[in-house]
Symmetry: C2
Subunit: 537 residues, 2 copies
């Protein structure tokens, strides 16, 4: 790779790339999480002509896609990603998987070889269409500069939905670099509001009948049903009918804390979840998928619907949960207007050694008003839901698809979406390493992200899962070393400072509290390496 | 995620997982680069019963797959990877793309949901088959424990070839955990030796005629043709017929240095490559693909075959290049037995500020006998081929597929394959960040890998590519900041030490030489952050 290809004089006229960017911004997509390569250079160059687009550089595509997920969960509209051919999209696929499970809108702009270069099977050529299809509701390749405005608008429309989804636009390099003189940007038809059309009328009617029946009913809430509006409606239904209310296990975005109606989440361990649903004869799904265990285990049922229970679905999974719940509440709880809300009752600040419990209490005590919590704490987060239930009002974003490496990138996107709100990223150590370079973007963009890495030196979740699948190993087993991160111990303070994020270590509750207070007092990103013993020894 | 699923007592009898591992090892696949999750826990547990299998833990799947690529390039046999469902495979796909382009054998073992859990569409479910198909020559899902031995043997056979390829075995969790009492491991039919059968007889005959014709011929060599045997044969042909000899631009493994017949590589910039091939009327491809530019550029031909030239292909791309060259040499150069070899003539150690040139001279001067060089130096490596041509004998592995993030993982695998040979990983800074956690595996396994990070604070290659596609930007352009890594500057010394790899910074040639000498004198991994000005300012 000896120096640059010498090329023609830079084009001064409008390019397809500029039309693409203008179309995106006109359609409201004005943030782009980018990790570009050669085939995207005209899209990069076009940024100068479109200052309304904020381009956020990431050092790895999984950071770009996870950021787009976190952004859209908070902004309620898609960001774009800018990715380099098949391998770039592949690197972003795991976090797109999480976004797909979250029902998040994302517009992937994936550069591809120029149209006449593609058949040459150059080294970076791969089946990008098949790859994109594994995570995208829609994949489209733009074949001419004249179509690029329309194609871009259509890609945004597909992302916005309803239902919101991942939309991938493949852009051959020449389609981007060709002159677009005289071409207009594409325009977006205003999206259909996620109104009654998204609801399942039959499902609503059968759910209403079930709720009136007097038989034990559980309302399983997901998607936008976990915003305040949906939670109020769910609790109105509960007050009127005696139904139990539960949130899905891994919410896309759960509004909670002081002032919001509280809701428990379906538990991750199947045995606990089965107990939560025991006795239910009608399960009403409002924006949630029918509950199943995360994995199959020997001799255990994966389906969590209690035997003999009837399932009623009032809307698409993930979509319009709050609208569906309000429709259902209007049917069965018209007379109920007020519901109980969580009070402001944070835990007292603990003292002494840092544990999963004391770390959670520190977080619960200090969580600031309006915080956005990105939760990839895995086993170390076991005590968090309870410890933060009475904290100041906040949003809680979780790992919807189980593809680890979500936390640091999603925190990036949430902070870009909500620059006036503090983002707390509660991050397990093993998972952090998949997308650790997100810290550099935190620093580069000076984002108000405070990361707590739960540094327990282990894939502790897998120690538990090993038991769950009946494959326990003695402590000195060589195989068991594959679940350890302690040799060598990762130094997250060094990793963070190496990427420009100020960082400290905390081994006591007092040190964690001090670090979090300092982070809140200073602008920009911070990291605390919270050394906790693993939950599963 | 509140604590483990409680499960049944651990099974003491033989499991499918044990049969799988035993089959792999019996077939010669005795290294596994692993990043497992719940669905692979029985495969992890089975390691204790199969101590012949070396399991190497990685913190990210792209490290596992890149390591498998580097391993196979040096061991000439596949390693296994152990990956977690679709998202795990997705994270490993970019480096599998490089392995596919390298013609490297890899056996991917991808855990999947238990058969009865799969239809439940649990959060981690995705179209893993489609994903695997984008990089694999063969994808097979094992559907019963009774078949697992045979399925595993078949997966290894498909990887071994000929031609060597990526073979993906999807293993449902229950197929791995079910008792395999009384079942035998699968056995591998001895692979067909890559003999004359892999050759193209018509191509050999037409190539021989062309070489005899007296018209200008160029022999473009790739695959195993770039090992010593192939190079000797290529040079015999050149001596006998006057043909020119060139290596493909990005070799899988090039043997070179003192004692090996030297060969120039086709250049990366199309303009230079076109000059190299100018005047050729017959292009003989021996293990190389027909040459094309890496990307398409406005107004330039992507196809590098000179107009009017005839192409002769003597073997499959990547396969049996050395065998083909020997067959061709036997046809046209039977009387030539000896060829010129490179002498031992390393450059003098330079002094003064570190530049792309002086850094290359330091590497060339100190490269130890038998070194394995993993080259992802991108622009900062411009002077390396010349500066190392007279170094002690070594192997040179390059980025075959253009999916960056290859260097640190491939160095991992090369070091595991050849524990008695020093591995030098020459690594660009931007590319390093895609798979930086490989450093932790270097430390954990105490691998003899010396990494030189060319720390130029930029995606310098893209600055060049920007010119190449005619999209130059002024120095103060906001868009241009998307090609900069300087704000904040990455501190690779902190990153390396944070993962347990001793590291120093070098700003002069003397400091780089000192650091490399120290690294050679101490066991285990080292990193030098070599601060060089970017080649493309």
């Amino acid at each position: 790779m000896a120096g640059p290809e010498t090329g023609p004089e830079p084009a001064a006229e409008t390019t397809g790339a500029q039309v693409l960017l203008r179309t995106l911004v006109d359609a409201g997509v004005d943030v782009c999480f980018a990790n570009p390569g050669t085939s995207e250079m005209h899209l990069v160059a076009a940024l100068d002509a479109e200052p309304r687009m904020r381009a956020v550089l990431t050092l790895f595509e999984g950071v770009a896609t996870g950021a787009a997920d976190g952004y859209a969960r908070m902004a309620d509209k898609p960001a774009a990603t800018l990715l380099h051919l098949g391998p770039g999209l592949a690197n972003g696929t795991a976090n797109l998987h999480n976004a797909r499970r979250a029902g998040t809108p994302v517009v992937n702009v994936v550069g591809d070889h120029a149209l006449d270069h593609k058949p040459l099977d150059a080294p970076l050529e791969s089946d990008v269409d098949a790859l994109a299809g594994t995570v995208s509701a829609r994949v489209h390749r733009s074949l001419s500069t004249a179509d690029l405005g329309r194609d871009t608008a259509d890609a945004v429309a597909a992302a916005c939905g309803p239902p919101p989804a991942i939309s991938t636009l493949l852009v051959p390099a020449d389609v981007a670099w060709t002159s677009a003189a005289g071409l207009e940007p594409g325009t977006l038809a205003p999206p259909a509001a996620p109104g009654r059309g998204a609801l399942d009328a039959d499902g609503l009617e059968s759910a209403a009948k079930a709720l009136w029946s007097g038989e034990p009913c559980t309302l399983l809430v997901g998607g936008t049903g976990l915003r305040e509006r949906g939670l109020v409606a769910a609790h109105r239904i509960a007050v009127a009918t005696g139904a139990r209310v539960l949130a899905e296990c891994f919410p896309t975005r759960l509004e909670r804390g002081a002032g919001v109606p509280p809701i428990s989440r379906l538990a991750y361990p199947g045995d606990v979840a089965r107990k939560q649903l025991e006795g239910t004869t009608h399960l009403v799904l409002a924006g949630a998928a029918s509950p199943v265990t995360f994995f199959g285990y020997p001799g255990k049922q994966g389906d969590l619907v209690p035997e003999g229970a009837t399932v009623h679905r009032v809307t698409e999974i993930g979509a319009a949960g709050s609208v569906a719940l309000e429709a259902l509440a209007d049917l069965v709880a018209a007379g109920v207007t007020d519901v109980a809300r969580a009070g402001f009752a944070p835990p007292a600040l603990p003292t002494g050694p840092l544990t999963v419990q004391t770390a959670a209490e520190v977080v619960g005590a200090l969580l600031p008003e309006g915080a956005i919590v990105v939760d990839e704490s895995v086993t170390s987060g076991a005590s968090l839901p309870q410890a933060t239930a009475g904290s100041a009002r906040h949003d809680w974003l979780t790992l919807t698809g189980g593809a680890i490496g979500f936390g640091l990138p999603a925190a990036t996107g949430a902070a870009v979406a909500c620059p006036d709100r503090p983002v707390w990223c509660l991050q397990a150590d093993g998972s952090a390493m998949y997308t650790i370079s997100a810290l550099w973007t935190h620093a580069r963009e000076n984002l108000d992200v405070t990361t707590v890495v739960y540094d327990n030196g282990a894939y502790a979740i897998l120690r538990g899962e090993l038991l769950g699948v009946g494959a326990s190993l003695p402590a000195d087993s060589p195989a068991r070393s594959l679940l350890d991160l302690g040799s060598p111990r990762l130094d997250f303070v060094a990793l963070a400072t190496g990427m420009g994020v100020p960082a400290v270590r905390a081994t006591t509750a007092e040190e964690l509290a001090d670090a979090l207070r300092r982070a809140a007092a200073e602008p920009g990103p911070h990291l605390v390496a919270a050394q906790v013993p693993p939950l599963v020894p």
